[in-house]
């Protein structure tokens, strides 16, 4: 023990390491960031580039072997009517799911951010997160049961003597089908349910940062609640909505299990990737398909940025 004010006698090994780190904040940051950066670089970017590289190869149609030469032939295959249909279908589904998720999430997120306190806030988080704790497959299969012809939804419509309404809906082209569980409406409902937490949480986080006086100030200046929503609340929550839509949009673009279990037999991008890299052994085409969501997300973010969606950040 030193008698001085400065404790210069504390010189254990750990203390010396702490001292060195304290004197070199840059070294500290480097040490903290190096392991995750390496992980990201090797595993994440590495696999991404491997995928990209594959997409520029092609497959020999007779032997089924991969020809390791640069070509855009595989990409051109994406634009054959059958494949292009898959892309358009997936894109429309992802858009519909994202828009619906944003509409459903906003009021819940607003309630949680503005009104829920204490116990109710805990219940909110629990309610939103709870579905994420159980297996995704089980949830999708339960939805299949709910939506099936013998399922609870049909029963409900029958009990209410509204079967004619459901049948009229199912007879519609494209969105209809033999039953809800084999229609795109069913696929849409399950996607919406499964990805909803990924939309609610970012919107709630964004709304949490909007002080209550913002809406009061807007009303004070003559804006009706609708006008306040449009001119103040929505612009301020937009970064959260965009963040949520990145999740719902990209998750829908890439998923291959939900449309396989619930929906019509027509394929989505994820199923195409699964089929081409598996049984068909056409890895280049699978890779090219996998690049499509990346490109779409890139374009989406670029437009969002140009439109000023991140100005409130």
């Amino acid at each position: 023990m030193s008698d001085g004010v400065l404790d210069t006698d504390r010189n254990g090994v750990l203390t010396r390491i702490s001292d060195t780190l304290w004197r070199n904040p840059r070294l500290t940051i480097l040490l903290l960031i190096a392991p995750p950066a390496l992980w990201l670089g090797v595993v994440y970017l590495g696999s991404l580039f491997a995928l990209l590289a594959q997409s520029f190869f092609s497959i020999d149609e007779f032997s089924g072997l991969i020809i390791y030469e640069f070509t855009l032939k595989t990409y051109s295959e994406l634009f054959t009517p059958a494949n292009f249909d898959i892309i358009v279908r997936t894109f429309l589904m992802a858009s519909a799911v994202t828009i619906a998720a944003a509409i459903v999430s906003f009021p819940i997120a607003y309630y949680a951010a503005r009104y829920a306190r204490g116990k109710w806030k805990a219940i909110f988080y629990l309610g939103v997160m709870l579905p994420l704790w159980s297996s995704y497959l089980v949830k999708v299969y339960s939805w299949k049961l709910i939506l099936a012809k013998e399922g609870i939804l049909n029963w409900l419509f029958e009990t209410l003597h509204l079967s004619w309404l459901l049948e009229a809906y199912l007879s519609l082209p494209i969105i209809g089908g033999n039953s809800l569980s084999v229609s795109w409406t069913g696929t849409f409902l399950v996607f919406l349910y499964v990805w909803l937490p990924f939309m609610i949480l970012p919107i709630q986080a964004a709304l949490e940062r909007v002080p209550p006086s913002m809406m009061e100030a807007s009303g004070d200046l003559g804006a009706t609640p609708g006008q306040s929503f449009r001119h103040v609340l929505l612009p301020l929550a937009l970064p959260g909505v965009i963040a949520g839509s990145i999740f719902t949009f990209s998750l829908t673009l890439g998923d291959y299990i939900i449309p396989q279990i619930v929906g019509s037999s027509r394929r989505f991008i994820g199923q195409a990737v699964y089929a081409y890299q598996g049984t068909a052994g056409n890895i280049p085409l699978a890779a090219a398909f996998a690049v499509v969501p990346i490109v779409i997300m890139g374009i989406y973010l670029w437009i969002a940025k140009r439109k000023g969606a991140f100005d409130a950040l």
Binding site: M214, E216, S218, G219, D220, L221, A223, Q227, L236, D311
Partner: protein, 329 residues
């Protein structure tokens, strides 16, 4: 004179808390009216009742003789300068100021011109292109003021607008606000917990305590002629003499107030003991104890400072002691 805002028996309860409890106010058109009180005294709730953010639990509020019951904020020609300014972070200064006019449907060119004029009024010309985050606290305060004034409100509500500013800026803004109010002739209702601010700016002051108004009057009346001990203590930091002390000096059983600067130390008067002294610039503050009560005396520069622990006597001119309501006993 026309009544701008009037409260008749207005109460606002939050559960069992009586934030505002049977308050009567009458604010005249063109008046600079201050609502003064400690935090939680109900003054801000009163302001929010005028703005329409809160509805009264009981009583009647009328604004320019029209009953305000059930009228939402966006239908009231009353504008507020918020304590945290509440500027919209995603809009630049010009669009912030023009917001009310945009909502009212004014064309972009006209409203930007009006907003620019409002910015000139608050001495911020040419700041329209900046974002609120790029402004200092004082500048934001001015933008909030311009955003409210550009709508030509009948009543302007100010909720502790100077609270976040440093002392020098606050004094400057006090003068500017007062000059602005005179120039525009708009009714200002100003909420503050700073008695100096209320006394220096307002035409009339209402002092709040525990949801009730304890005294309304001109600043001089509030300062020199407090009606209840709370006002004497909170507003003037006067010495409040309980009845048993007042009886010894005036022969009357009542509460009384004596301003610290009126207290004289010397051979005459009531015996007292010096407990502490502190130098506060223009004068010295002497803390005394007499008859079980604390008393403060402010001694002007040049006067001898008594040592701590000395036994002395306190007295005051007969004009300087102000009797308050008769005590119950």
């Amino acid at each position: 004179m026309t009544s701008a805002v009037s409260f008749t028996g207005v109460s606002r309860h939050f559960g069992s808390v009586r934030a505002v409890d049977e308050v009567d106010i009458n604010i005249a058109e063109g008046e600079f009216f201050a609502m003064l009180g400690p935090s939680g005294s109900g003054k801000t709730t009163c302001l929010r009742l005028i703005a329409g953010f809160e509805q009264p639990t009981a009583g009647e509020i009328s604004i320019f003789s029209q009953p305000a019951q059930g009228v939402p904020p966006y239908k009231r020609h009353v504008n507020t300068v918020f304590q945290d300014y509440a500027l919209f972070p995603h809009l630049n200064v010009l669009d912030n100021v023009a917001y009310g006019l945009m909502i009212a449907g004014m064309s972009k060119k006209e409203r930007h011109q009006a907003a620019e004029e409002a910015l000139e009024l608050v001495a911020l010309p040419g700041y329209g292109g900046r974002k609120p985050s790029e402004l200092s606290g004082g500048q934001r305060q001015r933008v909030a003021l311009a955003r409210a004034l550009v709508n030509k409100p009948k009543v302007l509500l100010l909720d502790e607008p100077l609270g976040a500013l440093d002392l020098k800026l606050r004094e400057q803004m006090q003068e500017e606000l007062k000059a602005l109010q005179r120039k525009l002739g708009i009714t200002f209702v100003f909420v503050t917990h700073d008695q100096g601010e209320a006394l220096s700016m307002a035409d009339r002051v209402a002092v709040f305590n525990e949801g009730k108004i304890v005294q309304v009057g001109k600043p001089e009346d509030i300062y020199y002629r407090p009606e209840v001990p709370f006002v004497a203590d909170f507003v003037g930091s006067s010495n409040v003499l309980p009845p048993h002390v007042t009886e010894k000096t005036k022969g009357i059983w009542a509460n009384a107030a004596v301003r610290p600067e009126a207290v004289r130390l010397g051979e005459e008067g009531l015996p007292a003991t010096v407990r502490a002294t502190s130098f506060i610039g223009t004068s010295t503050r002497v803390s005394l104890e007499l008859d079980g009560i604390q008393m403060i005396a402010l001694l002007p520069k040049g006067q001898a400072i008594p040592p701590v622990g000395e036994h002395t006597h306190v007295s005051w001119a007969d004009d300087d002691i102000h009797l308050m309501e008769q005590a119950d006993e």
